[in-house]
């Protein structure tokens, strides 16, 4: 079974409103995104609220297109484009936050999407906890994840936190253990 199928199977084992951290590496990153955005969200007819803090949302959308991933159900909460002065588009599909330090605004933008697009349930993808940790201390990041994951439970959304395995510090691992229901290794080795 490939990484994409394994990640989808893992998510399907979980009840709705679960939170899971998925450890990836450079070889499995796109397979995991395909599993989340394309296969799982399509199969369960979910909106995808994608929090991008690693790459600008427009770049991610372009990559999805190249990889043949359908991104029509994806709404981006982009924390990085303003900082990098990347091209922006004003629409509900692309919501921008001035900086990855404005963690509360991530919660508020996702709440906005959840309230506005309530005809379907959603999966929220945070990509990635490691890039957020560049701009935020562990303490405030833990606080943010705790509040965010708890809020998403009440909104009955799935939460997937993407973590780059090789960049995980012991503090990040402890934080993910604390806030997530499951930690899943999608690094291509022993899962």
């Amino acid at each position: 079974m490939g990484i994409t199928s394994k990640v989808v199977s893992k998510l399907e084992e979980l009840p709705p409103a679960s939170s899971i951290a998925v450890n990836v590496n450079v070889n499995t990153y796109f397979d995991v995104l395909r599993a989340l955005v394309d296969v799982f969200a399509t199969r369960h007819d979910l909106y995808v609220f994608y929090i991008s803090s690693t790459m600008p949302s427009k770049s991610i959308e372009n990559l999805f297109e190249i990889l043949g991933i359908d991104s029509s159900r994806v709404f981006f909460v982009d924390t990085i484009s303003h900082l990098m002065r990347s091209t922006t588009e004003l629409s509900d599909r692309f919501l921008y936050i001035e900086s990855p330090t404005m963690l509360e605004n991530i919660i508020l933008k996702v709440e906005y999407l959840t309230r506005k697009y309530r005809d379907k349930k959603s999966i929220v993808i945070l990509d990635s906890v490691n890039s957020l940790s560049i701009y935020n201390g562990t303490k405030i990041l833990s606080e943010f994840l705790h509040i965010f994951v708890t809020s998403l439970r009440t909104w009955e959304s799935y939460m997937v936190i993407v973590a780059m395995k090789e960049q995980n510090t012991p503090e990040i691992e402890a934080m993910l253990n604390l806030v997530c229901d499951e930690i899943y290794n999608a690094t291509g080795g022993e899962e």
């Binding site: 900086s99 330090t101 919660i107 508020l108 309230r115 506005k116 303490k139 606080e143 809020s151």
Partner: protein, 249 residues
Amino acid sequence: MVDGSRERCKTGIAGMDSILDGGIPRGNTVLITGSCGTGKTTLSLEFLVHGAIMGERSMYISVTEVPEKLLENMIDYEFFDKKLIDEKKLIFVDLQEIYVKLGLEKLEFTLEDINILVEQIVKMVKELGVERLVIDSITSICYRLTSKEEIREFILHLGKELSELGCTTLLVSELLPSAAGYSQYGVEEAIADGIILLGNLERRGDLLRTLQVIKMRGTTHSRAKYVMDLTSIGILIAPLLKGGSVEVT
């Protein structure tokens, strides 16, 4: 009504009624205070629109902006329906027109002028059956009052009359960013039943909009600071994360 407590006027703003343990106690006069660009007018308008949607006649008395301009901004709100205005559930009044009608086009008001103005506002509230009122801004009216005693008399008189009518009132108060206290003259905050402070908080060079209920008579309420976002579906509120922010002065 919450058991054993005063009837609440639900703001309808997501998260706000939880902070206030059900809403603003009906009949309270509340100061909405903050420096420019903190969301005072937006919050006040949303309070009125939700009231009108719930069937409560709501009135906005504008001192500084013409109603047409305010209406243009409201069209962006997804919860706003122009029918509320056509059906007179939501009423906009330009205070300048009232000044002209009452012969109060002067730079300074006497105590007698203040009483005339209060009586006119109360008359409109009574005749139209207004249950929610916003005066934006009370600071602009207070500019014409010559002493703290007059400001005190004006707000006390107005608050008492409106409270007796069961009208829940928001008084928008403009605050200088460097000001100490919660109002420009230091009198308004002591007389109002409630104070909702809107502000800016800096985190590593970025500004977050914040909201904090400083006081609200007649209800137990959260006194924590929250972060606020102004969206097309209305104001959204999230808890402020505790680490790493400083107040903007």
